[in-house]
């Protein structure tokens, strides 16, 4: 979305130093998705489309409850449905609202080469600033959750904004407002964690002994958190990563190759410059021309 800049940036893509700002006292926010309360009605999906003016193209039925079958540039949140047979042989229907997790350490932002195309506000929201997006798709490679999608229409990358525009004016995200069961909640991250704790206690009492909060430390925690009945096996929920992390390949690229490359290029250029100044050019002297002429005359005679 466009950059409203009503908040501090704490991170800015392709920027070596994030500029300081004068605003302070911003509290971190979080969306809490209580998977155990979700009934799979997809109202959140509709609300997201409604608020963000998204109307993705109609798709063919793919034989599953997901509709459409995957996230796309017009689908920033998607209900995913998984059927799981537990140890007692009972069927559990695990429904998860998929979308950007708003990582504290965002892989998309780390990979992005366009200055200011991906920013993180002081409240923790990770936002794509379309104006600056160049459509390279590096964010897709940086993301541990396979979320961003590049549009073929305008060649810009899209994902959930956590309704940064609504949040900026004191409203909750559209999906939160619409959820009929209270499965999606929004507030300060601290409050959401407190609330999740109470809920997890309830779930444990009801026999979900592995219930827990999904706020993965590997990416510094996230600003979208899940209450899972099976916190021990997140992958049950349509492939939610057990240990999400920014790929080591991205780390090699950004933390090793970048500085080494810069040093190497600088060293090579400086070396050439110094050699050029110290040694001077390699010239052809008059005696070289004379030798060459002699050689040519010798040949002409023979």
């Amino acid at each position: 979305m466009a950059d409203l800049q009503s908040q501090n940036y704490i991170r800015r893509s392709a920027t070596t130093m994030t500029p300081p700002t004068t605003r302070s006292n911003v509290e971190e926010v979080a969306k809490l998705i209580d998977v155990s309360r979700c009934i799979g009605c997809k109202a959140c999906q509709s609300a997201c489309m409604e608020w963000n003016d998204l109307r993705p193209e109609m798709e063919e039925f793919q034989g599953a409850y997901e509709n459409p079958h995957d996230l796309n540039p017009g689908v920033w949140t998607l209900m995913r449905f998984a059927e799981y047979e537990n140890d007692h042989g009972d069927l559990e229907w695990l429904i998860r609202k998929d979308g950007c997790m708003h990582c504290e350490d965002p892989g998309c932002l780390k990979a992005c080469p366009a200055p200011g195309a991906i920013v993180q506000y002081a409240n923790g929201i990770v936002d794509f600033i379309s104006d600056a997006c160049i459509g390279c798709g590096y964010c897709i490679k940086g993301c541990p959750f396979n979320i961003p999608r590049v549009s073929e229409k305008d060649h810009k990358s899209y994902k959930c904004t956590l309704c940064s525009d609504r949040v900026a004016v004191g409203l909750e995200p559209a999906c939160v407002k619409t959820c009929p069961t209270g499965a999606i909640m929004f507030g300060t991250k601290a409050d959401m964690k407190d609330w999740a704790e109470e809920r997890i206690e309830e779930l444990k009492e009801r026999g979900f002994e592995n219930a827990g909060l999904y706020d993965p430390a590997e990416v510094g925690g996230t600003h979208v958190m899940y209450v899972l009945h099976h916190r021990d096996k997140p992958s049950l929920y349509s492939g939610l990563p057990d240990k999400p992390h920014i790929s080591a390949v991205i780390g090699l690229w950004k933390h090793v190759l970048k500085p080494v490359a810069l040093a190497g290029i600088a060293f090579a250029a400086l070396g050439a410059f110094v050699h050029g100044i110290v040694s001077g050019p390699m010239e052809v002297e008059e005696e070289d021309e004379a030798e060459a002429r002699k050689e040519m005359e010798r040949r002409a005679k023979s």
């Binding site: 392709a14 920027t15 070596t16 080469p113 366009a114 200055p115 600056a132 997006c133 160049i134 459509g135 390279c136 798709g137 590096y138 897709i140 490679k141 396979n146 590049v150 073929e152 060649h155 790929s247 390949v249 991205i250 090699l252 690229w253 190759l257 970048k258 080494v260 490359a261 810069l262 190497g264 290029i265 090579a268 250029a269 050439a272 050699h275 050029g276 040694s279 050019p281 390699m282 010239e283 052809v284 002297e285 008059e286 070289d288 021309e289 004379a290 030798e291 060459a292 002429r293 050689e295 040519m296 040949r299």
Partner: protein, 222 residues
């Protein structure tokens, strides 16, 4: 200086055009590539209109580059076959850099440094092309797995840095060895230049009565 009567042709017109097309592609790819590699170079995107234009044009220039480079490869590969004297030359690189070329083995059409640049590019350009295809989001974004694209991105960046280092050597050598640039732009060198820098090639031309760039095959000693 206009072309003297006894000048020797070093590069044919087609080779020169082919070379400079390749060079133009390389420079444009390097500028746009660096802009997408490190924030220090992000400002270079304005040379291409905008970041979007730059991202869109970079792979197409790459396609032109591989085609153009193929032309160079076909024309030049046989000048770059490694010989024993090249190894000697490399061992004496310090003498070359100290301008004591008389103390190293005589050089043929290309010296070991030029051959090194040629083969390094012959390896790196195809690697860059193929890894570039994998990360060409618009056409091939869905053709491979994201993990494969991450690896391709790393390979592409590393190969590009390698190519830029080779390019720096190439450009500096061309500037340092006086009149190499004239040879590459206008195509000819003086006999003294050929004698000094590529004596074995010069002798071959003189012996076969050729004015370059190739020895005259009819007059080649049996």
């Amino acid at each position: 200086m206009s072309r003297p009567k006894d000048a020797i042709t070093r590069y044919k017109t087609v080779s020169r055009l082919n070379h400079w097309l390749t060079g133009l592609c390389f420079v444009l790819l390097m500028l746009s590539g660096l802009a997408m590699f490190h924030p220090y170079f992000s400002w270079l995107s304005f040379l291409f209109g905008s970041g979007q234009w730059m991202r869109a044009i970079h792979p197409w220039i790459g396609c032109l580059m591989i085609a153009s480079f193929l032309g160079l490869f076909i024309q030049f590969w046989h000048h770059n076959v490694w010989e024993r004297r090249d190894t000697e030359w490399v061992k004496n690189i310090d003498k070359v850099l100290a301008k004591k070329e008389d103390e190293v083995p005589e050089v043929g059409r290309n010296n070991a440094g030029q051959k090194g640049v040629f083969w390094a590019m012959a390896l790196l350009v195809p690697v860059l092309f193929l890894s570039g295809l994998v990360i060409w989001e618009y056409y091939f974004g869905h053709a491979t797995s994201i993990e494969a694209q991450r690896v391709a991105l790393l390979i592409h960046s590393a190969a590009a840095i390698g190519a830029i280092l080779v390019w720096i050597v190439h450009v500096y050598a061309a500037l340092w060895v006086k009149y190499s640039m004239r040879a590459m732009i206008r195509g000819w060198v003086t006999p003294g230049w050929a004698w000094k820098h590529h004596r074995a090639w010069f002798r071959e031309l003189v012996d076969t009565g050729s004015r370059g760039p190739e020895p005259n095959p009819r007059n080649r000693a049996p």
